[in-house]
């Protein structure tokens, strides 16, 4: 059973990666610049965007993270392929 993932799956994952990378960069920047208001605004916008993208992903392809970070679909299928390294 070789399940092929649709193209949107990869595009959505890449979008999540892009937003999360910006969040990582801004987190490191804000660690040393706590009073930079513009950066904080950008950080919050990106955080909201990241949540939306992850919600969109989880509605279509199942849970992205575990231990309550993502809702579970029925049946309990977080162990299904593809795993992150199999994507």
């Amino acid at each position: 059973m070789n399940k092929q993932m649709p193209q949107e799956f990869y595009e959505l994952l890449e979008e999540i990666q892009v937003v999360d990378f910006v969040l990582v960069e801004l987190t490191l920047y804000l660690d040393t610049h706590p009073h930079d208001y513009n950066a904080i605004q950008q950080f919050n916008e990106c955080a909201k965007q990241s949540k939306q993208l992850k919600k969109q992903y989880e509605q279509q392809y199942g849970p992205l993270r575990q231990y309550g970070m993502s809702y579970s679909s029925y049946p309990w299928n977080w162990g299904d392929a593809p795993w992150p390294w199999q994507v």
């Binding site: 990666q17 892009v18 910006v22 960069e25 040393t32």
Partner: protein, 73 residues
């Protein structure tokens, strides 16, 4: 602007057992010269930031392969 790679010529002794490495290089990315990062620096668009490895063009470095080292030829 600072160069991304710098080279130096190590001393080569006549008694070196192995073929000498005449030119050595080391990476010098921009963050070495930036000091404390000023706020509101110009940013890459998010997608390009992911592929460039940094959000700020001022800090970008391609980490080029040093050409000066002759043992690659």
């Amino acid at each position: 602007m600072h160069t991304q790679v710098k080279y130096y010529h190590p001393y080569i002794s006549p008694f070196d057992p192995c073929p000498p490495i005449r030119v050595k290089s080391y990476q010098t990315p921009p963050n070495l010269y930036l000091g404390f990062q000023p706020p509101n620096l110009e940013q890459y668009p998010p997608k390009q930031a992911l592929y460039c490895g940094t959000l700020w063009p001022a800090l970008f470095s391609p980490y080029p392969n040093p050409q000066g080292r002759d043992e690659y030829e």
